[in-house]
Amino acid sequence: MTPPHDTGAGGRPARTRGARRLTEHRLFWPAAVLAALLLGNLALTHDFFAVRVQNGHLYGSLIDILQFGAPLILVSVGMTLVIATRGIDLSVGSTVAIAGALACEHIATAKDPGSLSTVMAAIAVALGVAAAIGLLNGLLVARLGVQPIVATLVLMVAGRGVAQLITDGQIISVSSSAYKMIGGGYWLTLPFAVLLAAALVAVTSVVTRRTALGMLIESVGGNPVASRLVGIRASGLLVTVYIVSAVCAAVAGLMISSNVSSADGNNAGLWIELDAILAVVIGGTALTGGRFSLGGTVLGALIIQTLSTTIYTLGVPPETTLVFKALVVIVVCLVQSPAFRARLSRRRRTAAPDPAPAAGDLTARRQEVHS
């Protein structure tokens, strides 16, 4: 079912010229959409790009987008790796809620909520439990061969219940300046959350792109059987990927709860898994696995965050963002779909013959299927 795994990024025949190469770069369309959205905002709000320094902190709409988008970026980066292995992790939203609940519960019941050691312990507890969640998901997928969507559905359903169990159904408020730092603090004039997200994205991309890990992940996603035959230990890799995804979600959960100084088991991270999948798809990572682009995912997450900001600026009820997100999903998926491209190119060819259809073999396959 998956499209043939070609030679990878930049492996196309050298028939392209400069401009064409630019538009064919995998990050071009996400970057163009983001730029268009930002420019559209400039037309709506004239000081949209203004960034000012106040009390030694940077303020401005762009900074806000980065700060509020940081949790989504983290969750999406974890999700990218999972999707690259042809999987999906639906439990990240619940993990966000559980991590926030655990950390806040730990701080709220501690003797000195403000001390660094308390906060460190709270973070350790949250990340440890998240790793266990990832381990469970990974074992279900890798060892028992359960479909990823099903395996992670379990914790998506139960996880939110667990988060409410931890908070006892209440919203736990904490007053800890050290904890507040994670999601709402500033460091070197920048929001700490942005720096944290940037650092984690950098680490992930170095680890996956400067070592063989990224290639192994793509290999497992591209063709699990072939990778097993060449001796890649897929199950260890899969478990690792799900643990990374859960830990990323936990850090995002800490950020979200820290930013509002409270944990809400019911609403924290609600539907973030869907936003994360959307970000990954917009970023050009195919849901069929085998190839991923962390840069694209970050752009995708920023697009979603900018879209939300725009909706707020327009004064439209924020809930209607969902309609726009749906339209974006549909368009992006159609553009990614080989069948859709084949239809388009077939239509174009009847109008004016195209000498080199990129998806020629796919068109042939489709016609065969339809006849």
Binding site: M1, I88, L140, L144, G145, V146, Q147, I149, V150, A151, L153, V154, L155, M156, V157, A158, G159, R160, G161, V162, Q164, L165, D168, G169, G265, L274, I277, V281, L287, T288, P317, E319, T320, T321, L322, V323, F324, K325, A326, L327, V329, I330, C333, L334, S337, P338, A339, F340, R343, V369
Partner: protein, 332 residues
Amino acid sequence: MSTTLAKPLHRFSARHAARLPLMVTATLLVAMFTVGSVQYEGFFSAQVLLNVLIDNGFLLVVAIGMTFVILTGGIDLSVGSMVALSTMLTAWLVEQNGLPLAVAVPVVLLVGAGGGALMGWVIHAFEIQPFIVTLAGMFLARGLCYMISTESISITDPTTTRIAQTRVLLPGGLFVSPAVVIALVVLALAFVVLHHTRFGRTVYALGGNESSARLMGLPVGRTKVMVYAVSGLCSALGGLLLTFYMLSGYALHAVGMELDAIAAAVIGGTLLTGGSGFVLGTALGVTVLGLIQTIISFQGTLSSWWTRIVIGGLLFVFILLQRLFGGSRQAE
């Protein structure tokens, strides 16, 4: 899995693979009812069971539609939002536009079936994963709810309230709501369609192996579109039943109902890989979910979130069961 115990287990499972989860679910149901009856005063009565149906009639209808989709190996994540959209649309048409219920109901059903068919067509024509298309449908339907109104619309229309308060009396002083009757009729229809029509056989064939179904000359595309249309229709109908139950339209109705519907189908023995399952099992699954809620409310000291945890736990157990006893499908 090459232990000595596994062999007889596998031989047994080979013979009863399809029905085993159903038997487990039936046993579970009896066990839960027995434990409830022993534990809590007033639990052991037919009305308690009927109340489970009254409180979950809409879920049953939605889960039946979901079963069709899962049987073909697909999934429909849009059902919860579709239910919410139906409640919203009904309330909006009846309350704010003054249309009679007899006009609103067909409109809502048509929107549901049409939306489902559209998603099915996109899934088939562009070969996009059902999961992502119905995810978009989920966003879209939920967003459309908010476009109608961000507030809850309560229904005061006399016809609607009269239907909502109707009791269908049964012998022995028992009663059910009209919604239960409708849900049971839908169940019977679904049973007949799945097990006694050509369409039903194609649904199973499609879930068993799509390429084989295509090579056999079965109408793969048409069936896929139909299946999602059925699911859309069922969620719209489920939404109508929920409207009568709640007497309001609200964009936050039925959040997470897609998960309950999937859980009901899985607990009822439908394989999530498609091709195997029973719609009657789904009815058992819905009853199990309802009984969990009943037990938790009888217990009194347990909070509502335990429902989610228990449903998740059950889902976990049944997915493991599917893996262990669905041996024949492990080759994938």
